[in-house]
Every structure is written in structure tokens, then in C-alpha cells.
């Protein structure tokens, strides 16, 4: 499963990243090298193996529906690159 530059473009779009030509070249090379390495997993027959997703042994770790104090608006906006009044501000969503 070789990764093409078009694949890199598509993945970059999904990940909201951009690369110049040289970076794209290098990224394509690196991804192919790594993916080529991970191909080794295909040596294993995992047909009847249950995927492992949950590392703990607990289930139903739930919170009671009781409010806890929120933070202040000032704290919420403390690190905001741009804000006005009580709102975060971002460039206008188009479309």
C-alpha cells in the first residue's frame, strides 16, 4: 500500500496541515518507510482475535448528574488569541 503525494495531500487536508514541495516529498518518503515497516503485522493471522481497545478492567464509570461550579468567563478567554465581550472570535465561517 504505497502512499502517493495525492494521498499525502488528502491526509493533510483531513489533518489541517500543509506542506511545501520539499516537505511533501519527505513526508511521502517517511510515511512509506513507516507503513512498509508496519506491513509486518500482516504476517500474523488475527482472524479470531478480539481487538483490544479498553486497557482497564472497569466499565460504567459514571458521574452523578450534579452541577459543579464552572470557571469564570475571564479564565475561559484567558488564552484566547482573539476575543470580544464574552466570546471567542475566529475568522468568519464561509459557506
Amino acid at each position: 500500500m504505497a502512499v502517493s503525494k495525492a494521498d499525502v495531500d488528502y491526509i493533510a487536508t483531513l489533518a489541517r496541515l500543509s506542506f511545501n514541495d520539499a516537505e511533501k516529498e519527505a513526508m511521502t518518503h517517511d510515511l512509506n518507510e513507516i507503513l512498509n515497516y508496519v506491513e509486518k503485522l500482516n504476517e500474523l493471522n488475527t482472524e479470531n482475535i478480539e481487538p483490544l481497545a479498553n486497557m482497564g478492567d472497569r466499565t460504567n464509570v459514571l458521574r452523578e448528574d450534579k452541577p459543579v461550579p464552572s470557571i469564570s468567563n475571564q479564565d475561559a478567554l484567558k488564552n484566547a488569541p482573539d476575543f470580544q465581550d464574552r466570546f471567542f472570535k475566529v475568522p468568519k465561517v464561509i459557506g
Binding site: A53, R63, V68, I71
Partner: protein, 477 residues
């Protein structure tokens, strides 16, 4: 060629929990922007979600009520996409192994029973609010980020706009009955997307579908689907093909139009949410939640008919809303006259709710006060007219008990026979013409004498006693 409409609905139902799905922030509507927020719902680095128990229970309640299979093992998943009002860059949702699957909702339409099957119901979180219409930039309020939602996905079993609307109404009634959501479409606590396609009548194959978004009332759901159906038929009839796309309903222009989207394809990269543990629904938990389920409307209406001897129609009306049904039962219990209570609800109460455009929860007369009022009539303390036209009206404006109003305003019914007899005598002597006419056979004038007597007694006389005395007098002379 005749075409048939095929619709499946995806409904997002905002739950009315006190706190958000994954943090303890309040869900209260109308708080100042970005004040119901915390490190978790603002996606601060290092913050982690913890599932609200009430969200799980609400999902299971809706699943049980809609005849779904409740998954004994279920997991949360991340749905990855970027949007300014989605702080984490992913929405916590469910993908594989949702909490409920394969159920159905039944409703009556034009006297027939219709069943729409459900693919699944899953838990997820809401996004924040983007405000685009002030200034040159977009403003973000994260108060709604993380508010719990249930997504209810139907099979494409809907065949008309009326069915779509009836299905939604029924779903709304169910979530309200369960008390898990206020189900308000206009305020966005019930949101609906429709997958719409058409096919030649009799065909088994589905046509290409479009997804219609932005319908925020029952009427707009009907209108949007109707428009989209006609548009698709038009395209097909003129030899065109339907493009699979997402379209927005524009209620002002009364049309659907394709949504402009920069992203080529939706590639959400779902994967199991590693920050949350699996959900196991044991038989024990399931029976605990089952025991908490309220008696469903159909069952309750049937019980009302047999237990309280009220008409089936009244029972159905009263059980359209759980709080109304609760109200009825409480008032009936207080006064001990379920039949009279049902009449009051069907008459004065529902009329007032409609006039004031309010819900029973906001009705100023509590069930207990109404019950007392009805019993005052029953005991003969006041007559029915005084109760309806005077005491009830005053009770709407003040929290006073009906007894106190009656006492304060001197509204108690006069059952003193001698006083009534005296007034009747005066009425008869003041109306010689009418008396003569009555005696010559115009017995309809009986009502006239009753009315005159009542007028003289300021409406407070016991009507039964007036009747009795008047009858005796008119016949005896």
C-alpha cells in the same frame, strides 16, 4: 409515471439533564456566553471526559420505550472533524456498538396504525454555538459544548410528509412523556435531518437520496420534504439524475439548495474513545430502569377509562402530556370526582392553556387547588357558574385558596329556602305578563324565572333549590 416518496429521519434530541454529558457544567439555557464552561468542555490540554449517568439512563429509557435492543456492551467513539464550535476537534459519539438498536415507533395517522422502524439510538454531545451575523468575524459561545444529545435514526420507512410529521410528533411526545427532553423544535432541543428519495411506485429499489438539513419546525419538515420530493420528481421526469448531496432548507425562500462545503468527503475517522470506559448494561440495571419508566400514555388512557369512568376521548387528550395526566390524577384524588375533574380539564384548563399559550407546568393553578375548587362545587358551597366564572378566574391571578376567595368575596352559595322563596315571590309578582304566558303553556319561560331569581341573588343561589321552589310555586297556584 407515478413516484413514491421514501424518507428516513435522523433526529437529534437534546436531553434535559442538569449537567453536560462529560463534565459537571450546568446545561441551563440562557446563561451569559462562555460561562457554563470548564477545562473539559473547552478542551483544555489534559482535560478528560466522564460520562453523566443520567445520559445513559435516558438513552436506555428511550430505547426501552421504542422497543429497541439495549446493547449489553457498548462503547463511545470519537468522530473527528474540525469546526470552530467543536473544541476538541472531535465529537464524542457512538459508532460501532451503540447503546440501542433495532426498535420501532408506532403512531396513528388518519385512523390507521403506522410503524417506523429504528436503526439505532446513540448518545453523543452537542457542539457550541457560532454566531455569524454580527460584524466581520464569527463569535463562539461554548456554553452548549457537551450538552447531551440522543440521535435517533429511523429506517427509510416513511412514505409521506404527513407520516414524517406524525413520526416526529410521536417521538416528541415520547421524550416528553419520559421526561428526558422538552422536545422543543423551535428552541432546537429536537433537530431533524431527513434522507429523502423517490422511486417509481411499486419499485423495490431505493432511489438516490439527498440529506436535508436545517428544518426547525414540524411545518418546515413537511414543507422541506414536500419541496424536495417535487424537485426530485421534476429532475427525474426531465431525464436527469439525482445527485447524492446535503441540501439546506431555506424556509424564507421555500426551497432546498445544495450546501456549499469545502471538504470533499466526510471522512470522520471514527475510533473507540480511549478516555471513556465501556458501558455494560446488566439485566439488573435494565430492570432498575424499567421499574423507573412511567406508565406509557396508551396504557394510562385505558386505565383512566376503566378506573375513572371517563370517555375514551377525554382519556386520550389528557394523556397526551404526562404532566397533564399527573395533574388530572392529583386533582381528581383531591376532590374525589374524576368525572367532574375530567370535564374541568377538557374545558376550563385546556382552554386557558391555549389562550395563554403555556404548558401545564406553567399553569398558575396547582392540581390541588383545582381539586379543592371542584369539591366546593360538589359540596354545594358554591355553584358551578360561580366556580367557573368567578373563583377559577381569580385563582389564575392569585395563589389564594378557593375557600379563602369564596369567604373573602362572599361568593358562598345561598341555600336558605326562605330567602330564595322570598326572591321568587318578588320575581313572580314583578312579572305578571310572563306568568300569564307561562300558565297559558309557554313553559319555556321557566328559565326566565330562574334567571331573574339568580340575578336578584347575584348569581349565588343554589340553582337546584330555585328549581324546586319555582316548580312548586308555578304548579300550586
Amino acid at each position: 409515471m407515478e413516484y413514491e416518496l421514501v424518507v428516513g429521519l435522523e433526529v437529534h434530541c437534546q436531553l434535559n439533564t442538569k449537567t453536560k454529558a462529560f463534565c459537571g457544567c450546568s446545561t441551563e439555557f440562557g446563561a451569559p456566553a462562555n460561562t457554563n464552561v470548564c477545562p473539559v468542555c473547552l478542551a483544555m490540554p489534559g482535560a478528560l471526559p466522564v460520562l453523566n449517568k443520567q445520559v445513559l439512563e435516558s438513552a436506555i429509557k428511550l430505547g426501552l420505550t421504542t422497543h429497541c435492543t439495549i446493547a449489553p456492551y457498548s462503547i463511545m467513539a470519537r468522530k473527528n472533524y474540525f469546526y470552530p464550535d467543536l473544541p476538541k476537534g472531535y465529537q464524542i459519539s457512538q459508532y460501532e456498538e451503540p447503546i440501542c438498536s433495532e426498535g420501532y415507533i408506532e403512531f396513528d395517522l388518519d385512523g390507521e396504525k403506522k410503524r417506523v422502524r429504528l436503526v439505532r439510538i446513540h448518545m453523543e454531545e452537542d457542539a457550541g454555538k457560532s454566531i455569524h451575523d454580527i460584524g466581520e468575524e464569527t463569535y463562539i459561545d461554548a456554553n452548549r459544548c457537551g450538552v447531551p444529545l440522543l440521535e435517533i435514526v429511523s429506517y427509510p420507512d416513511i412514505r409521506s410528509t404527513k407520516e414524517a410529521s406524525a413520526y416526529l410528533q410521536k417521538l416528541r411526545a415520547i421524550v416528553r412523556w419520559l421526561g428526558i427532553s422538552d422536545g422543543n423544535m423551535e428552541e432546537g432541543s429536537l433537530r431533524c435531518d431527513a434522507n429523502v428519495s423517490v422511486r417509481p411506485k411499486g419499485s423495490e429499489k431505493f432511489g438516490t437520496r439527498t440529506e436535508i438539513k436545517n428544518m426547525n419546525s414540524f411545518k418546515s419538515v413537511e414543507n422541506a420534504i414536500q419541496y424536495e420530493m417535487e424537485r426530485q420528481i421534476e429532475v427525474l421526469k426531465s431525464g436527469g439524475t439525482i445527485v447524492q448531496e446535503t441540501r439546506l432548507w431555506d424556509a424564507d425562500k421555500f426551497e432546498t439548495r445544495p450546501m456549499r462545503s469545502k471538504e470533499a468527503a466526510h471522512d470522520y475517522r471514527y475510533f473507540p474513545e480511549p478516555d471513556l470506559v465501556p458501558i455494560e448494561v446488566s439485566d439488573e440495571l435494565l430492570s432498575l430502569i424499567k421499574a423507573e419508566l412511567p406508565e406509557m400514555p396508551e396504557v394510562r388512557a385505558t386505565r383512566f377509562v376503566s378506573q375513572y369512568q371517563i370517555p375514551e376521548y377525554d382519556a386520550k387528550v389528557i394523556t397526551t402530556d404526562r404532566l397533564l395526566a399527573d395533574y388530572y390524577e392529583e386533582a381528581a384524588k383531591v376532590c374525589g370526582d374524576p368525572k367532574a375533574t375530567s370535564n374541568w380539564i377538557m374545558g376550563e384548563v385546556l382552554r386557558t392553556l391555549k389562550e395563554k399559550a403555556i404548558e401545564i407546568s406553567a399553569f398558575p393553578i396547582e392540581a390541588k387547588r383545582l381539586g379543592v375548587l371542584i369539591s366546593l362545587v360538589k359540596q354545594g358551597v358554591i355553584n358551578g357558574n360561580t366556580a367557573k366564572e368567578v373563583v377559577f378566574v381569580k385563582m389564575l391571578d392569585e395563589p389564594t385558596s378557593p375557600q379563602d376567595i369564596v369567604k373573602r368575596d362572599g361568593l358562598a352559595q345561598v341555600s336558605d329556602t326562605s330567602a330564595i322563596e322570598k326572591e321568587i315571590a318578588e320575581v313572580l309578582s314583578a312579572s305578571p305578563t310572563q306568568l300569564a304566558d307561562y300558565r297559558s303553556g309557554k313553559t319555556k319561560l321557566f328559565g326566565y324565572f330562574v334567571g331573574e331569581t339568580m340575578k336578584r341573588m347575584k348569581g349565588k343561589a343554589n340553582p337546584q333549590i330555585i328549581n324546586d321552589i319555582l316548580k312548586r310555586k308555578l304548579e300550586s297556584v
